[in-house]
């Protein structure tokens, strides 16, 4: 079982950033850094920092909601390497309820995740899809199936405990 836990203030900061309009991209993207711990039932991931992708790191590509350049990918890889962090690619689907990864998301993550796993193979890395009130996450790692594993429970802690997934 894989759990992801973070402060509600961090979740709110991510949502606020991801909902800002971009000059040309349909969506925004960021990276969530997590510390990873082993627990008897599996893994516990603790979100501690969100890094927004700068406006000029986006590429014009109408086939996807947002595409970023190699510098942005290196930013994520650097976070994994130097902070020994589990790094999540984060974006938002503008609806209420439980979000899912689109086919485009799934395809893109299959290409992106090996970058993070290769620089920091001791950690799980993943994709976090937020909605306006819930979230979905999937992780990849050397010990996991190549198609990734769903995060079982995502919670935010602040004014109460919100179960996001």
């Amino acid at each position: 079982m894989i759990r992801l836990r973070m402060l509600t203030t961090l979740v709110e900061a991510m949502r606020a950033d991801l909902r800002r309009p971009h000059p040309f991209a349909y969506e925004r993207i960021g990276f969530l850094c997590c510390k990873q711990s082993r627990v008897p039932s599996g893994y516990l991931l603790l979100g501690y920092r969100y890094v927004a992708i700068e406006d000029d790191r986006y590429l014009r590509d109408k086939s996807v909601g947002a595409r970023f350049d190699a510098t942005a990918i290196r930013t994520g890889m650097q976070l994994a390497l130097t902070e020994e962090a589990s790094v999540f690619h984060v974006h938002i689907h503008e609806h209420a309820g439980l979000p899912r990864m689109s086919r485009v998301d799934a395809r893109e993550m299959q290409q992106l995740m090996p970058c993070f796993v290769n620089v920091c193979p001791e950690r799980l890395h993943g994709a976090l899809v937020m909605s306006v009130d819930q979230a979905y996450a999937r992780v990849w790692g050397t010990a996991l199936d190549t198609s990734g594993v769903d995060v079982s429970r995502i919670t935010s802690v602040g004014d109460g405990i919100k179960v996001l997934s």
Binding site: L7, L46, G158
Partner: protein, 263 residues
């Protein structure tokens, strides 16, 4: 929602599911923790982690819920007494017991959505809060003591909620260098602290109420901390004024102070 929980359906349409899917840890299964365990079983918590290295003694029977004279004879582990009580009320629950100091099973404690501290000393509370804050886990502390006021026993207690990001026990003035120092000076000389079943029950009930509120949000209240003072002689619970003067954000634990310490 099953018939078992229809009388608490006002907690919200998803409350039974939220409580069923939650993991709650109780550290200390004595007079306070045993009450907490019993009530968590009744409200429908689906998974509990019970930590206590001690076995039942005759002097515990005045207050330990679920304990029997036969358990004293058998020197039963307190966690096993709590487990037996929990599954008798809620057979579907997943109960994990750790008959050791919680530090020796710290990886298990990390799974908890909420930790309830039913420990005796300030130092032990400090150790527990430092650990659970690193894993972004709300901590609820309950405790009581008896002091002589004008040569009359006066029972007091507290229920404190410490939520990561919000004020901690030190921010709230509950833990201070002075009370830790005084406790250290008395180490080994304090003897058994006075404890009675009814005041422990009040404090445990308030703690369980906070757990249910944290998980279900049924009051739609926004709160980052709670500090309730119990005057057990007068049977009155009040908000501690310390809550009003505490900083809104913790000044002792940084928000990115998470995960296992790197040594």
């Amino acid at each position: 929602m099953t018939d078992q929980y229809t009388r608490q359906s006002f907690l919200g349409s998803k409350s039974a599911e939220l409580l069923q899917n939650a993991t709650i840890a109780i550290v200390g299964l004595g007079g306070g923790g045993s009450h907490v365990a019993q009530q968590l079983a009744h409200v429908g918590i689906g998974r509990v982690l019970l930590f206590d290295p001690d076995r039942l003694e005759l002097s515990n029977l005045n207050r330990l819920i679920g304990g029997t004279a036969a358990d004293v004879g058998a020197r039963a582990e307190k966690v096993e007494i709590a487990r037996r009580m929990f599954v008798a009320i809620n057979p579907a629950a997943e109960v994990h017991t750790y008959a050791v100091q919680w530090q020796l099973a710290a990886d298990a404690l990390r799974e908890a959505d909420v930790v309830i501290s039913c420990l005796d000393s300030y130092a032990a509370r400090q150790d527990l809060e430092v650990s659970v804050r690193r894993f972004l886990t709300p901590l609820i502390d309950i405790g009581m003591d008896v002091h002589l006021v004008n040569e009359q026993p006066h029972m007091t207690g507290q229920v404190i909620l410490s939520v990561p990001g919000g004020p901690c026990f030190r921010c709230l003035g509950f833990l201070t260098d002075e009370n830790l120092r005084q406790e250290a000076e008395l180490y080994g000389a304090a003897g058994g602290r006075p404890q009675v079943v009814w005041s422990n029950g009040v404090l445990a009930s308030v703690a369980v109420g906070l757990v249910v509120e944290l998980l279900t949000g049924w009051q739609r209240r926004r709160f980052r901390a709670e500090y309730l003072h119990f005057d057990a002689n007068e049977h009155v619970i009040t908000h501690s004024p310390r809550l009003e003067y505490a900083p809104k954000q913790c000044t002792h634990f940084a928000a990115d102070f998470v995960g296992e310490p790197v040594l």
